[in-house]
């Protein structure tokens, strides 16, 4: 079944083939993502023996302060990747949020401040565009719910690659402007993400472009493994007990899992049973529905939620995410749009982190799982925050309160302060009643 893998140009490359997740067929390291035998998704395979022999905690720590310190675990051959400072975002010990929820050891992995475009997508795009350049592509593209378009356009601009991105026409203003500003070609498709994605598959077959999440998907998605590696390294080379992450296509979730597995496999951390819990919005929860109904297949849905960045009705890696949640004794839960807004506010006022709707979903699900007793207060828990709130301002506009308008005079200020304190007291009385 396996094809011979030839022309590995660099000897220090530790990735050796594309391999079908379903039937195990192997392919050369080209731009393709679907198995020709069984139509399963392709994934990058590595030489773990070589990795075990060459990579140490020290060799990683000596590397750059970015995802590229894990280069041997990433599918690029070059020693000169596109490095715009992506990754190694803070793992914040969230004591104030933990107290509010009733947990003892909670961390926020904060990709709301990932570089350069403030979402975890900078990780996957840095990898995909580095690989695209290696494979000779000069135009890069993507089907995006917003964050991916921001990231692809920005990093392509930095690297001097031509860029054309596809988004649903109804995206948040910040995500559209946050793409246009880099001057790519932007196609606003009158349809939902799943329709955008189908169109892009057709375009990818017709044009010689590198679509980061289509024909380059096996390389691209590997970038998310760094969210696993970093948490392990930042916890002092230990794995957490429980992770909570948002589910869109499901890819992020499976790759954090793969990251933990690989670090264990090559001896960088001790093996540990980590529970994986996934977060969806009620308005687009095909994976949570399958989980609840004990199905092992996904029924596609038509998304309708403020959490647009995770609104994928037909998630490519949904079944794999489902499998991981089940076999690790985790959970998949969904929350309503109002709960998502509350999640955004809760994280902001306890930890000073302003996340977008996807992050609000994660925090709301975290809260729901704790309240249902599905996260043990003693577990070291990591919640993944994947994007920045400045991009989805519409979602919380009108729910974050209003400033107190005053004249530039001391007595005007004092009257306003008195009013606000009275209101606060009233708020508290309502809480007590």
């Amino acid at each position: 079944m396996t094809q011979a893998i030839a022309n590995q140009t660099k000897t220090n490359a530790t990735f050796r083939a594309l391999k079908c997740k379903e039937c195990g067929a192997e392919y050369e390291l080209q731009a393709m993502h679907v198995c020709e035998y069984c139509f399963g998704p392709l994934e990058v395979a590595y030489d773990y023996t070589a990795l075990r022999e060459t990579v140490t905690r020290e060799s990683i720590q000596k590397g750059p302060h970015s995802i590229w310190r894990y280069r041997p675990f990433l599918p690029v051959a070059t020693d000169n990747p596109i490095d715009v400072g992506t990754g190694l975002t803070p793992l914040v010990r969230a004591n104030r949020l933990a107290r509010r929820l009733g947990l003892k050891k909670l961390y926020i992995k904060n990709d709301a401040v990932n570089m350069p475009t403030l979402s975890f997508k900078d990780r996957v795009v840095s990898v995909a565009l580095t690989r695209a350049r290696e494979l000779g592509f000069t135009t890069v593209s993507c089907a995006s719910t917003g964050n991916l378009a921001n990231s692809t356009a920005a990093i392509a601009a930095h690297a001097g690659l031509d860029c054309c991105v596809f988004i649903p026409a109804d995206l948040e203003a910040g995500k559209v402007l946050g793409t246009l500003i880099y001057s790519p070609t932007v196609m606003a498709v009158q349809g939902n993400y799943d329709q955008v994605n189908r169109l892009c598959s057709e375009v990818a077959n017709t044009y010689g472009w590198g679509f980061v999440n289509i024909n380059l998907r096996p390389y691209y998605s590997e970038g998310s493994k760094t969210l696993g590696y970093e948490v392990a390294e930042q916890l002092g080379w230990e794995l957490p007990d429980h992770v909570v992450a948002p589910l869109a296509s499901g890819s992020l979730f499976t790759k954090i899992y793969k990251g933990f597995q690989e670090f264990t496999e090559v001896g960088l951390v001790e093996g540990k049973h980590v529970r994986f819990s996934g977060a969806q919005a009620d308005g687009c929860s095909p994976i949570a529905q399958a989980y609840r109904e004990n199905r092992d297949f996904i029924k596609p849905v038509k998304p309708s939620t403020i959490a647009k960045s995770i609104a994928i009705g037909n998630p490519a890696d949904g079944v794999y995410a489902l499998d991981i949640a089940r076999k690790t004794n985790g959970n998949i839960e969904s929350v309503s749009d109002p709960e998502i807004i509350e999640g955004i506010k809760l994280l902001a006022e306890t930890e000073g982190i302003f996340t977008e709707t996807a992050g609000g979903t994660t925090i709301a699900v975290l809260k729901k799982l704790v309240e249902a007793g599905k996260i043990d207060p003693e577990e070291t828990t990591v919640a993944y925050i994947t994007g920045n709130g400045l991009k989805t301002q519409e979602a919380v506009q009108g729910y974050a309160g209003e400033p107190l308008t005053i004249e530039p005079k001391l007595d005007s200020f004092e009257r306003a302060l008195e009013r606000s304190r009275t209101l606060e007291r009233l708020d508290w009385q309502q809480v007590l009643v």
Copy 2:
């Protein structure tokens, strides 16, 4: 003239007094900012002999990946500062922008991705709130043009401090929401920043609050020195030849200068003549006007520009910035609002960095100075980008182009692509004509 400095609680503190920049009078390390003798501004003084003996490049590099690796140069006594990952933002080698401008060695110091709130203000606030806590304050406050309010509210939330911020009522939506979300008390003052600032001085005298940029200003402003330290360290412990930075109050500019001086003084870098050039918006350019008219005093102006974050008509440190630009053989230049928008776009499309109006001002001034022959192409030049474009979307809305709206069909995409390519050719023809 000097007062005895008593009760230094920690022996490892290297800051020893507040000292008047004008008359040299010294004061205890309390919350005050104006000299009682001559009304000059107070600045923190250090024991440089102790610093020279204890701080090395290695000791710094062993420190955290944040501004706190420079703690001995910062005015806090604690070994447990508020560290939310602020600082050590990328120093990007900007080859594509350099080529466009005709420079050989250009770097962007990118605080558009500073943590947690995406502006250089996170540096000064991290220092100010750490010091506020040491001095026993439980409520913190500020007079802000937006970024400072974001940062104070976020870091106060993380640290569990009460917070009340003052902003002009006409700020950009992103800056208002980006403050409200952390649930501080927000006072929107009907007036410009200078009026907000005056009101806050009155409040600071009446309430026992720690105003980061009023009674805590000497500590607060020291945080900006880290923008000097980091550039020196990131250039391999060398100083650049020329820096270009925005001027609002003028504080940032003087503190980058102080940072370079200190590193030279204690032997961490070799001394070098660094030219300092400042950037203002035409609509609020009191320092540039004084520079052009060869005055050594500032005539306050009434601001009217899209660059609201640097719209300070009566800049507290204006004369010091003026002095530095002159004595280093630098320049102070101003640009129009359309040039600021072009500056934002130029940086985005060449380097993939989306900055706010202040950053657009810096890039537009950089361009203007190069075109006027005031920056030598051979100089190693660093442009300081101080904030993120997602906060001032209004400024570029309508100037960044529009997406091409298409149906989710291949032929609709192909027609749109053809149209956009035709338009591009027309654009080029116009350029060639």
